[in-house]
């Protein structure tokens, strides 16, 4: 019963994770709170909005019990802004991820939601980055999967869906090219850490094999050079220690 999948999440598992994102719905029917393993759902009373996990929102949408409110970053204007950023302003890195979620405490202070006072740190898909309150102009981690699923199951809830669809395609192409150039660019070779700030989950999943393959190849080609370098560094370090101890002796 061992898992036959390769190391690293595959696209279907990423989609599964994305379905845990919270989205905002406008219910069309009353529904009492349901006690689930991941907590109770809010009581649905039309026309009050409520935040639900994405899988439940799709289920309600399919049964025509609710409409989904698309997040602000999925609006054509916001997408156009990001496409401009990706193609004209910064052609090397991805557009920055959304700012960390903050909330007001009602006394004029704003506090960062993460980390919580007891040290628990939430990360996507548990951060509210796809609800109606999410900011426009920045793509959250699960942007691609969420947009695709929304277009597939709730395209009538998205304003100008066909335009959104074509903008998403532009975005995806511009960003995929960045991923390729980033990994194959000579200057990033041989370094210990490479930052992929702003990348999305599905983009990672689809190029995971390629990226790790390149990294592995470079490591194996440079393995002997690396061992030599480390030995040299160690010797130099020892020499310095020797010099120091000599000085100590002199003193």
């Amino acid at each position: 019963m061992a898992l036959p999948l390769p190391q690293g999440l595959v696209p279907s598992e990423v989609a599964f994770l994305c379905e845990m994102e919270l989205v905002t719905v406008v219910p069309r029917q009353r529904l009492e709170s349901i006690e689930l393993l991941s907590g109770s759902t809010p009581r649905l009373r039309p026309p009050h909005r409520a935040d639900l996990p994405f899988w439940l929102a799709i289920l309600l949408k399919k049964q025509r019990r609710a409409n989904i409110v698309p997040p602000a970053w999925l609006h054509p204007d916001s997408l156009r802004e990001i496409v401009t950023y990706e193609t004209a302003i910064d052609v090397k890195d991805w557009a920055p991820p959304p700012p960390p979620p903050v909330r007001a405490d009602g006394r004029g202070n704003s506090t960062r939601l993460n980390p919580y006072e007891d040290g628990v740190i939430l990360s996507p898909p548990f951060l509210p980055s796809c609800t109606a309150a999410a900011p426009a102009g920045a793509l959250p981690y699960h942007w691609f999967e969420l947009a695709e699923m929304l277009l597939a199951h709730a395209s009538d809830d998205i304003p100008s869906a066909s335009e959104v669809r074509s903008l998403l395609r532009d975005l995806q192409e511009a960003r995929a090219a960045k991923m390729r150039s980033k990994v194959t660019h000579p200057e990033s070779h041989g370094e210990g850490v490479t930052s992929l700030r702003g990348v999305g989950a599905m983009e990672l999943a689809e190029s995971r094999g390629f990226v790790t393959g390149v990294a592995e190849g470079i490591r194996k080609i440079g393995a002997s050079a690396e061992t030599m370098r480390r030995e040299e560094e160690e010797e130099n370090g020892q020499d310095m220690d020797d010099d120091l101890s000599d000085d100590d002796m002199g003193l």
């Binding site: 898992l3 999948l5 994770l17 009602g106 993460n114 210990g192 490591r219």
Partner: protein, 221 residues
Amino acid sequence: MDIDDILREVDPASHGIPLETRDLQALTRLWVAERSAPELLNWPADGLFERVNSKIKSQIEKIEDMTGDMDPKTNFALIVIQTELERYKFLVRSYLRARIAKIDKYTLHYLSTEELRQRLSPTELAYATRHQALLHNHYLSSFLSSFPQRLQNLNDTAGNVSMIDSPDLDTAVFIRLLRDKDVFGRGTDVDTILPAASGDILILRWSSAKDLVEHGDAELV
């Protein structure tokens, strides 16, 4: 729901995350980490799995109770509960299967030292030991017994070559930072220190990322 519940919902001072969300976040994080890491990670010691299993059990009992009455309203609630239960069970199952895949691949490695054995849960340890013994007995009875006595072991380390396969700890992994941190990574040409903010995705060797992940400063993605 009365006025107190509604007030509690909109109260800006209540920061706490409910235990259910916490468990789900912890379980998801464990699953993603186990799917992405090249080696077996520690079995969670805080009783998360006991808690999750007992919750799944009581949820199944609840479904059995609810199947009795056929009111269409509760019928829909039943569908939702069952869907969610399946999703939860998938997480648990996939996590355990990913661990078994790693244990199967490097059984002798994980059984070789006390420190590595600590990573396995009691059931996994029993499985690994017995499976390995069965396998070795099978080899012995089918072909190993015709070899000289000193060639019958599976953990030979003669000639500085160990027979025990171990996972490659320098495999590249992706991590997401949970706190702002300067990340140190070993590379072929230079070792780099990269200042990174929480939420950034980095690619580096697992051997460099391991400490960050174990201290909760980063998570695998």
